[in-house]
Amino acid sequence: MENMTILLNVESKKLENMTIKHQDAVAIVEPQRKRIDASFAIKFREDVIALVEQGQKKLVLNLSNVEFVDSSGLGAVVSIMKAIGGNQNLTLCHVKDSVLAVFKLTRMDKIFIILPSEEEAVARLQH
């Protein structure tokens, strides 16, 4: 049960400004900050990529609390997506209009898989 041990270690680790829960093999990461900017993006990226390096293969980013993302935040999400092997392993949900506008400005809406709800975002990764 090596994989379960890794997940338990992740769950017991206190991650600043993020909550993590699991649904089957999918980890749902929910930043608790309103802004993913240069003051938070590096930590955010490092913490989520650490999950990937510990064996997490499917991720949902629930952005329901996030109202603002700048290029640092965008870069962090793209880095996470690259680390996990592409958009077939990462989905986003509850993306606010203000954040979606930045995705569209940068064409990132073409590579991010964005679903309206957490349930749909999880389901997309389970198929």
Partner: protein, 159 residues
Amino acid sequence: MNSSPAAANSHIKLTIEGRLANIGMVGAVTRILSSESGFSVMSSTEIELAVVEAVTNVIKYGLSELPSSEIDLSLTYFEQYLAIEISDNGIPMPSQALEDADGSVFDFLEHDMDTWPTSGMGLSLIKAVMDRVEYSSMNGRNTLRLIKLMESIDATTDS
């Protein structure tokens, strides 16, 4: 809901300590001031984005070797446009940087992960959301000037 536009030629100046922890507040203040001056929610967010990107660049690159430095942010509301100036006394931006930020960083190939950018998007984003972007560096003083045209009353109606 439309806010009453600010009086033309009103001027607000802020001095920011050059720390990344201050970026959020700078952005929020910029967004609120823009909204109060009559810009739509989306335009106010775009202005916030431009200012945050600019201030972040100054902190990360211009002031990286200068502890406890300050950045001056000024917003001047004219009848037809908003003028924003971000000024600092740090290391100037490379002369070609603004011109090179032509948006090509966003021309990645959707099916080729290696082309997806993880950095270097800030200046292109600023140019994408503002109507004019200018940069000057003289006598140790660097200034990025951003212009955003005022919207018509119809455009400020938010659904």
